[in-house]
Amino acid sequence: EDQVTQSPEALRLQEGESSSLNCSYTVSGLRGLFWYRQDPGKGPEFLFTLYSAGEEKEKERLKATLTKKESFLHITAPKPEDSATYLCAVQGPGNNRKLIWGLGTSLAVNP
């Protein structure tokens, strides 16, 4: 069964303290892995798509990487406004358009 596991469940950082979030997945024939950010009371906001092992994407203080079994979201010198829940989702093969989501990592960045 396709599955996405995110760790840690929660992470508290000091402003400027870099760290990484993990998303491990089991899916046959990965078509894409997606990172989203979700603020309280809001819908998820798209961040990145990764398609193949070795691929990397960057946006401001965030960098996403992908291997054959997991993805990392690296946060460099985070700021309080980076506080949110970060969700990972995968899309399986064929015409399957549904995404399989992890439970998310709740990130708090203290000033």
Binding site: V4, R31, G32, F34, G41, K42, G43, P44, E45, F46, T49, L87, A89, Q91, R97, K98, L99, W101, G102, L103, G104
Partner: protein, 115 residues
């Protein structure tokens, strides 16, 4: 509009009542999704439309759930005879033609509480 709009934002229903949740996607977006998100969980797929065609409804939890998009724009998710386990945030998302359907624009959701 500028983004995906959902209404109502909050709905309280008594057990057994019917509810209707509306989604107005980004203009021109052909793909529309409904997801259900329980507290502390990731979204769970409910159904997918391409224009007015409902191509996948495999995630609808029971026959009490029904979704439509009659003119290929606005969509309505209807839940009949609501139960307490239906309490969740219902998220609508859309994407444009040709876009990878994992790159979604979400609305703020409709939070349903069934008493």
């Amino acid at each position: 509009g500028a983004g995906v709009s959902q209404s109502p934002r909050y709905k309280v229903a008594k057990r057994g009542q019917d509810v209707a949740l509306r989604c107005d996607p980004i203009s021109g977006h052909v793909s529309l999704f409904w997801y259900q998100q329980a507290l502390g969980q990731g979204p769970e797929f409910l159904t997918y439309f391409q224009n007015e065609a409902q191509l996948d409804k495999s995630g609808l939890p029971s026959d009490r759930f029904f979704a439509e998009r009659p003119e290929g724009s606005v969509s309505t998710l209807k839940i009949q005879r609501t139960q307490q386990e239906d309490s969740a945030v219902y998220l609508c998302a859309s994407s444009s033609r040709g876009a990878n359907t994992g790159e979604l624009f979400f609305g703020e959701g409709s939070r349903l509480t069934v008493l």
